[in-house]
């Protein structure tokens, strides 16, 4: 077995611990040729898919504190966001949401990292980080508003230290780099973190974000969820090597972790945060995970990927593994199951309540917040449109 532990805490300036292997020549084969498990497991892991604890010198110290209650909490968190995700998909099917981007399969990556953050750390997400938003305690109304088509976005970023969803691939990574520059100028101990996917790594903005972060040694963690797909394109369309390697080339400290191992992800995120907080420059985490669902509810993945591949990844499920691990630690799984059920049901009820109680937006919202202070022409347009609408109201009145 060619297992090489990759991406251990490697402050910039230290040699890389693993080579760039796994070249895939795209133009020859664009089908996803499932690499042998030995190859994919070229990352840091703490808990194996069957729940057994693996020694991991690079990460162990970062999760020493995780006792059974803490692990149970992580389990419940993951179950809650899985439920959140199922509800999102269901609400879309029922026409309550316009669209939904499932996170199924990525629970460990989102909870492991989300729970590693301090309150003051500022998050710049993409559109799939419902699990990270959950960690921030974001209100269900605010979580669903955008997906319902009721508002351009949901929450107030400053209340939860998390920017609104970003749809333009990679754009938020630069915001995170800039925010982190500001943190540094302020002498703050907080960090910024940017979430993005494997596909995003091809965007110039993501490379530029690494350039800026490195140049100013800004306290930012780039968190890449390599879920193996960018809509229909396998990660091999974006890169011939490991994504983490690319970041290393920009001078970032990098970790490549099993993204379905919530403990490993939490450990790596804590390590990366500690690294950036010391002023040692930016960090990069590649969390190797898998998008079990469709890209969005508008997508049909059967057109481009194999059922076999799904099965393979189902065997690496983030929840099953932590449950098995807890079992091994002697936790009361029956009791945990009950607590989980209650928590997930509460979650689901909250979401449903949020949808039924969410008011439709007002016409007035069209013109509000385009600018922060008056804009005469837009004000005219608002007035003209109001007059136009009131004309209908008058006609309707007259017709009575």
């Amino acid at each position: 077995m060619r297992l090489r532990l990759a991406g251990a805490l490697r402050p910039t300036g230290m040699p890389r611990l693993f080579p760039q292997s796994m070249q895939r020549m795209l133009t020859v084969s664009l089908t996803f040729d499932s690499p042998a498990p030995e190859e994919t497991e070229n990352y840091l892991q703490v808990v194996a898919p069957d729940g057994t604890r693996r020694p991991c010198p690079e990460l162990d110290e970062w999760v020493k504190d995780l006792d059974v209650p803490a692990l149970e909490k992580l389990y419940i968190d993951m179950a809650c966001i899985r439920r959140l995700d199922m509800e999102g998909t269901a609400l879309q099917r029922q026409g309550e949401l316009g669209l939904w981007a499932p996170l199924l399969g990525q629970e460990a990556s989102q909870i492991g990292s989300g729970r590693a953050l301090e309150h003051d750390d500022f998050i710049f997400p993409s559109y799939r980080e419902h699990g990270v938003a959950y960690c921030r305690g974001i209100d269900p109304h605010d979580l669903l508003r955008m997906w319902r088509g009721a508002a351009p976005s949901g929450w107030n970023p400053y209340e939860v230290n998390m920017a609104n969803q970003q749809i333009v691939i990679g754009a938020q990574t630069l915001h995170a780099a800039g925010y982190a520059m500001g943190l540094k100028f302020d002498g703050s101990q907080a960090a910024a973190i940017a979430y993005f996917g494997d596909g995003a790594t091809s965007q110039g903005d993501v490379s530029e974000a690494m350039v800026f972060a490195a140049s100013y040694q800004a306290p930012v963690v780039f968190f890449c969820q390599n879920n193996h797909w960018a809509i229909s394109e396998p990660v091999s369309t974006q890169t011939t090597g490991y994504i983490a390697d690319r970041a290393a080339g920009f001078g970032l400290a990098t970790w490549r972790v099993d993204g379905n191992d919530v403990i490993a992800v939490m450990a790596a995120t804590r390590a990366a945060l500690a690294h950036v907080r010391t002023g040692s420059g930016p960090a990069f985490i590649e969390a190797v995970t898998y998008r079990m669902g469709a890209h969005t509810t508008a997508d049909d993945p059967t057109r481009y990927r194999d059922a076999l591949e799904l099965e393979e990844w189902a065997a690496k499920d983030p929840l099953d593994r932590i449950a098995a691990h807890l079992g091994g630690l002697g936790a009361d799984l029956e009791e945990l199951k009950q607590r989980t059920e209650k928590a997930t049901n509460d979650m689901a009820a909250g979401l449903r309540e949020a949808i039924t109680s969410m008011p439709d937006p007002e016409v007035e919202d069209l013109f509000t917040n385009v600018y922060s202070h008056p804009h005469p022409r837009l004000d005219e347009q608002r007035e003209n449109y109001a007059n136009y609408l009131s004309g209908f109201a008058q006609e309707a009145e007259a017709a009575k």
Partner: protein, 335 residues
Amino acid sequence: MTSLTFSQALNTSLRDSMERDDKVLLMGEDIGKLGGVFRITDGLQKDFGQHRVIDTPLAESGIVGAAIGLAFRGYRPVVEIQFDGFVYPAFDQIVSQLAKMHFRSRGNVKLPVTIRIPFGGGIGSPEHHSESPEAYFAHTAGLRVVSPSNPQDAYTMLAQAIADDDPVIFMEPKRRYHTRGEVDTELVPEPGSLYRANVLREGRDLTLIAYGPLVKTALDAAEAAVDEGVDIEVIDLRSIEPVDFETLTASVRKTGRVLITHEASISGGIGAELSASLTERCFDHLDHAPVRVTGFDIPYPPAKLESHHLPDLDRILDGVDRAMRRNPPLVGEDG
């Protein structure tokens, strides 16, 4: 003649162009196995292979820049931008490279690149999926910008755009992808017809100019106006840049009234140029200022509000009433 949807017409047109000329190749995100998120390239990778239907890395500047390189090498790349709002990362390559290379190279380098952009709203999508960026490109010398409004034009104009030696921005009205119509794939268009406007309905009282998604809406409005005693001439612009002023001017000099409609924001939109130019060209024939019925000067709004932002039949008729001086003027305007 076959009955095809708008998207099938595009798909057939791509296929026919690729068969005619083996230098034609397609590039974009998810256009291979998936056939594109709108399925416009459905089945083409299977039939033409991965060298001619190329799934690219997720980087629009890269896609357009690489297409330029391929065109340098003699290829005729047809690029798909997945949605309107994702063309901006490629803006520099389009505006500073694609548009200017022929001029820069003193005519030595031709870049017959077609950039297909599904554009416009009305499909209930989140941010960045419903924009109308055509004015940015129309203001850029060196580009040609066209937009078909029906399956036949979709078929013909795409083939013409691909065959054109200049770069062409090809704006596809995504909410019309499912429109069905008769398509003659044997039709050999007159040379230059890609850049001719199309008088779809003759009329005496007012010239109504639309393109892409709103052509259908304009035709509906013209029918509705009959009841109100207004005889509207409807012109499908087809080519946004260059504009076929010959056709437009003839109509406006006849009717004396103009209404222009588009989804993009009003300030600096295509309607501004059409209004200004038609005023210059037809001032002495005008009975009223050209009227614009367009999107507001706002970012594209969330799905639940988009019907307010998008010009519809009622808003167009309201504009017609103003042009006919049947309605009071807007705030800030003369009669």
